[in-house]
């Protein structure tokens, strides 16, 4: 199985190469990608240099153009696709059907990967993407169990890539407007979720309150570790009971399941985290690379090493385990 690694900066890109990535994915410095954060992402020139470096190490570069084109401004997305192809991207990761149609028609030789944001969750959906846009690989939404994935791969003529480590969307990706409901900015349209520009913290009677837009997302007592107010990992009140309604502040880790995922026919494992620093990328990639080559007995210490790198130190196997539902 290939290891697909995130890079938010050229420095993280180089670290990922050194640490053993089979492919590195990144995006341009604008709203064409779903990690459109200040200080992140690549200029055209940075991408050109990074691709050249990756080629020398026999590592592939995937370019994520995985937001939805704003009507009237399609040229921004089309020119990003033109440039990514011209610069030699090994694959484009796309979510918008209009952009897929453009790339499939104009660059029939270009490898097209379907972003997790497209939410292709079953064999008929994937066949649609293969037949219509000649998709070669689909990144599956985090809504399937390992058993679901095994059944799926046996029915399709398309590679499957899945997220195994890092941030976890609780909602089906690409189908969530919670962020824009509270802030006006969404993953689909702006490439951001629960953006820092709309986050505020305030002290209130000894507790720390985190807000997103006009809404309270959490309140931390003294001594309680505080966290970033990602909307779906907030604490809310439902019928008088307070708690983490959708999901606790945890991150995804299914390294324990590597053998089952391989047996399920998964082609590539993806690490989330283009917003993370280069030291994190280097560490996670090198540990995961070792885990991929290790026997299950050798894997245990690597797994616990990874746990310490996880957000809030707590992890979940998410939808890959049926009990999560």
């Amino acid at each position: 199985m290939e290891l697909i690694c995130p890079a938010g900066t050229p420095a993280a890109f180089r670290e990922a190469l050194e640490a053993g990535a089979d492919a590195v994915y990144c995006g341009f410095r604008d709203e064409t990608n779903a990690r459109n954060f200040p200080g992140l992402n690549f200029s055209r020139e940075e991408l050109r240099q990074s691709i050249a470096l990756a080629r020398r190490k026999n590592v592939q570069t995937f370019v994520a153009l995985n937001t939805f084109m704003r009507a009237g401004d399609e040229a921004l997305w089309y020119s990003a696709a033109d440039d990514a192809v011209a610069l030699g991207a090994d694959a484009l990761i796309l979510a918008d059907f209009g952009l897929m149609a453009y790339v499939a028609e104009r660059y029939p030789q270009q490898r097209l990967h379907v972003s997790v944001q497209a939410s292709a969750s079953n064999p008929d959906a994937i066949r649609f993407l293969v037949e219509t846009f000649n998709a070669k690989r689909v990144v599956l939404p985090r809504v399937l169990t390992v058993q679901d994935i095994a059944r799926l791969t046996s029915q399709i003529d398309c590679e499957v890539e899945i997220f195994v480590f890092g941030g976890l969307c609780v909602m089906a990706e690409g189908r969530c407007s919670l962020s824009s409901y509270a802030t006006g900015k969404s993953p689909n349209m702006n490439g951001v979720c629960s953006p820092a520009s709309h986050v505020r913290y305030r002290e209130e009677g000894g507790s720390l309150v985190s807000e997103l837009g006009a809404y309270t997302i959490n309140r931390f007592g003294s001594g309680e570790a505080s966290g970033y107010p990602t909307l779906c990992k907030g604490r809310f009140d439902v019928a008088g009971a307070e708690g983490y309604t959708f999901e606790d502040p945890v991150s995804l880790d299914v390294i324990d399941e590597i053998d089952a995922l391989r047996a399920a026919g998964v082609s590539a494992l993806k690490i989330e985290g283009r917003q993370r620093g280069r030291a994190y990328v280097a560490e996670v990639v090198s540990v995961l690379k070792k885990a991929l080559g290790a026997t299950s007995a050798e894997r245990a210490p690597l797994v616990s090493r990874l746990r310490t790198l996880s957000e809030g130190q707590r992890t979940t196997s998410g939808a890959y385990d049926k009990r999560w539902r």
Binding site: F97, D124, A125, Y181, F236, A239, F246
Partner: protein, 310 residues
């Protein structure tokens, strides 16, 4: 120039209503509501299908007798083999037009006249064209779209039927996990259909008691009710073909009457708004997405400003 006329359309019920409530709702729509199109069928959770299915045939017959065009809705999220089979069977066997709400339905409907629901991501004309080329004849746009995007698409495809989500709590997210069951200490697999206890959604408030969202099984919806009134006329002039009303647990026949009157310019937006406040009380209204603001926002014009702030 002849004034353009937009049709009214009733979207599928997103909530779990018991069989008789579901049937009686549609009987009344069939007999009394001034809507041209009705899209129906379980859209949110495949586990609920047996509640409405026994009544579907008589409901469809009554709606058609009432002169309504009936479209059948597919599931928003299809992951299980059973769900795949259900979508395939529906598309193969149905005599009615089908509305696609996920990518599997899009694929299976190729070459067949069909509609696209608001849960499919259509953000631009390039996407709408790709879908129209495969047989889509009507697209209900996602509630998140700002007016600028809608106008661009109407302009780019003047002969195509676009539909706008103009009334109802907005579907904001869907998950493999059921937050509604989780809130009762249950899981999706042993949910005991607790979502049926909340025919208008289970309110989720912030820790500061702000109204925010409602849970509807695996779907998360806005607490606020989208209400687009004054915004409709310019979009209809630009070619908007249909206006969708999404069923809430309130008098939808009356809601349709009000929207028809607004579209026919017999009633102005602010008068319509005060009527809607009476029909669907205690629920904040919103139109922020259309105005490129946060979706929960209410952007008021003229007299309706005083009404909502007061």
């Amino acid at each position: 120039m002849k004034k353009k006329r937009a049709a009214l359309s009733l979207g599928p019920i997103y909530y779990l209503w018991d069989g008789p409530k579901w049937r009686d709702f549609y009987f009344r729509i069939a007999d009394e509501a001034d809507v041209e199109h009705v899209t129906l069928g379980e859209t949110v959770c495949s586990k609920r299908q047996h509640f409405s299915e026994p009544h579907a045939a008589e409901v469809i017959e009554r709606l058609e007798a009432g002169g309504k065009q009936v479209t059948l809705s597919t599931l928003a999220m299809v992951t299980l083999e059973r769900e795949c089979r259900h979508v395939r069977d529906l598309i193969r066997d149905s005599d009615h037009k089908v509305e696609a709400n996920d990518l599997s339905a899009l694929g299976l409907l190729k070459g067949q006249r069909h509609s696209i629901g608001p849960l499919v991501n259509v953000y631009n004309a390039a996407t709408a064209r790709a879908l129209a080329a495969r047989g889509a004849q009507n697209i209900c746009l996602p509630p998140e779209l700002p007016a600028g995007s809608i106008r661009q698409m109407l302009y780019a495809m003047p002969d195509f039927s676009f539909e706008l989500f103009a009334f109802g709590r907005m579907p904001l997210a869907i998950s493999a996990r059921c937050a509604h069951a989780r809130s009762k200490g249950l899981t999706k697999d042993n949910c005991q259909f607790v979502c049926g206890e909340h025919p208008d959604g289970l309110p989720l408030r912030t820790l500061d008691r702000q109204s925010f969202l409602v849970l509807n099984g695996v779907q998360t919806m806005s607490n606020s009710c989208a209400v687009l009134l004054d915004d409709l006329a310019p979009l209809v002039d630009a070619g908007l073909a249909r206006v969708r009303l999404s069923p809430q647990d309130c008098d939808m026949v009356r809601v349709a009457e009000i929207y028809r009157a607004v579209l026919d310019q017999r009633v102005d937006g602010s008068a319509a708004l005060s009527d809607l406040f009476r029909i669907y009380p205690d629920i904040p209204f919103s139109n922020g997405f259309l105005h490129q603001r946060e979706g929960a926002a209410w952007v008021a014009r003229g007299r309706s400003a005083a009404l909502t702030l007061g």
